[in-house]
Symmetry: C2
Subunit: 344 residues, 2 copies
DNA sequence: CTGAAAGCGCTTACAG
DNA sequence: CTGAAAGCGCTTACAG
């Protein structure tokens, strides 16, 4: 099953492999190959369905036209959607995508980075796990084209593309307050990562700005490593021990999904008994009865910007750092209602 | 940023690249390299963090240790979940995954196959689109390791891994009948693909076996190419023009999701006003109130079998054809209730 | 027990 | 206007 090589074309055209290579790489003009020869080669290549061997080319040029995409969990709605568009956008530039999921686990992330290096990817799109600093630093030092997504490492200046987590959480909290809710809990993860901190900060900033109280007991942190059952049970206990809550903000889509499950199990009616908002949109939030108000990320924009920034690095050695922060959108649904004492 | 090559190790160890290659490929014994030399090389390789250049190796051996995964839509729950496990399983064998989404579009599928060939993948996992016969035939003829998933092409004997679509649909229809539902509609796609046919066949076989009537007007086919809005509007019209329906079976997860949206918009209470079952499980089905009864696919098993079959092809030239059909599981939730006239 | 050499399929600096 | 040759980093048949 040998393919057609440049040599085969050269032989049939009666020219050298060099000439064929020039023509096929669009350097005919530059190398002043005659139109006649040029055309003959093009025709032959088309006829023989010549496909350049990417391995050979890569070995020679050092470029594989492949980018590595490291996400937290490819089965998660948000990452799957970003990955899909990343792949489409990359394709427009002739790049293919190798991907992997870290589960937010440092060891897995290291393993993935090693494999990608091994595979000679030209550039990286990385959702960093905690403590990945050293590895990111090394990539940066090696001047590898790289963009971080969903979060960044505050200690290391790098390219990144993110949603405005602070603003998203702020808007959600403010919205709840304006509707008249006063005892609002935040359910988030124990993660110390920047995106989670920002959501917490945005939330508390809104509370402060509106002079609302946010007692420590209204903040619940669930370990990322907790299994689904553990997380659900912790959230249930939290809800049961705080019966006076009138609203809960969940800081990620999966926590929001768990939250719905908790309310369902506990027989609590969302919207009537308690209000809820979640970060990230999800089919479930849209189609749930009642619909779940959420802070949606601009998935298309995120993916497009990721590729744009990466391509800029890949093509010119732009050593300028690109940090893109995109606005979050509050999508209002029936899980939050105007209360009698509403301000607005 | 040059990496460490076999030459560097050879130089430092004072041996030839050949010897280094033998040792690093575990052929020390076979080639009768002295233990002393062998150990020295291993140590050196570890110390220098030698990583074989996969391109060079691939160019020489013709193997890239990469498999191509073609799905219908990586952002779809089912495919994203399969993809994730495929990636994990492939990793265990040292393989990486290149993926792409066809949107069930022949042109896109051709493009993807071309890129994968170009990239020299060692094997293929393919969700075939309609009319992809010629391309599959060519891969088969070229003896490329290949497994089909989710569906197969009846005219071409190939490896495949699938859920038992007939049984899944049969069980769902039978379940509805036993609960006492009598006017059951099937909402499916216009696709003539085998998995859809089988679901239709399973459904009608159950109706027949139980002597239930299934008038033509209770069968609604939605074009796969329809946008979400178009599909939702068609389903709505269908529901409105058939007010006597007491249950609907949706033949894919996305149709089920649309169905929920329709019921919601029309103010129809699932479970009370009408029963529903969908093929495929989904967070939304699990957490919806009421929960949606569904026919779940064994995602882990599917992914594991895909890799297993592919690896068998890749490693020995097993020219035996593997066709794996895995059982579907009916998950009962509150969207279907026992009716007064129930048989059981 | 070990090594020199060819070759995988390209690209490109150099030469004419 | 075109080509011979080197080299990317490996593997492996051949030789000793």
């Amino acid at each position: 099953m040998k393919g057609i090589s440049i040599k085969d074309i050269a032989k049939q055209a009666g020219v050298s492999p060099t000439t064929v290579s020039f023509v096929l790489n669009g350097k005919a003009k530059e190398k002043r190959i005659s139109d006649q020869v040029s055309k003959k080669i093009m025709k032959l290549a088309a006829k023989l369905k010549y496909k350049p061997n990417q391995l050979a080319r890569g070995l020679r040029t050092g470029k594989t036209k492949t980018i590595g995409l490291i996400v937290e969990d490819i089965a998660n709605n948000f990452f799957a959607n970003v990955a899909k568009i990343v792949e489409e956008e990359a394709d427009k530039f002739g790049y293919k995508v190798l991907y992997g999921s870290t589960e937010d686990n440092l060891i897995k992330a290291r393993g993935l980075l090693e494999v990608l290096e091994y595979r000679q990817v030209d550039g990286y799109i990385i959702t960093p796990t905690p403590n990945l600093d050293k590895e990111i630093e090394m990539l940066k030092h090696a001047r590898k084209p790289m963009v971080l997504m969903d979060r960044y490492l505050p200690q290391i200046p790098t390219n990144y593309v993110m949603v405005n987590n602070f603003q998203g959480a702020y808007d959600a909290a403010e919205y709840l307050l304006k509707l008249g809710y006063g005892k609002i809990a935040l359910v988030t993860t124990t993660s110390e990562q920047i995106q989670m901190k920002e959501r917490l900060n945005g939330f508390t900033a809104a509370m402060k700005a509106h002079r609302a109280t946010f007692p420590r007991k209204f903040l619940k942190k669930i370990p990322f490593a907790a299994t689904k059952d553990e997380a659900v049970s912790q959230i249930k206990t939290f809800i049961e021990t705080n019966p006076d809550l009138d609203a809960i903000f969940f800081s990620t889509n999966y926590l929001g999904v768990y939250g719905i499950e908790c309310f369902k199990d506990l027989g609590i009616k969302i919207g009537d008994d308690i209000a809820m908002v979640s970060f990230d949109d999800h089919d479930l939030f849209r189609l749930h009865t009642p619909g779940i108000t959420c802070v949606a990320q601009p998935i298309h924009d995120i993916a497009r910007n990721l590729i744009q920034v990466l391509m800029a690095e890949l093509n010119q050695n732009s050593h300028q750092i690109n940090q893109v922060v995109l606005p979050a959108t509050l999508i209002k649904r029936e899980s939050c209602k105007k209360r009698k004492n509403a301000a607005v």
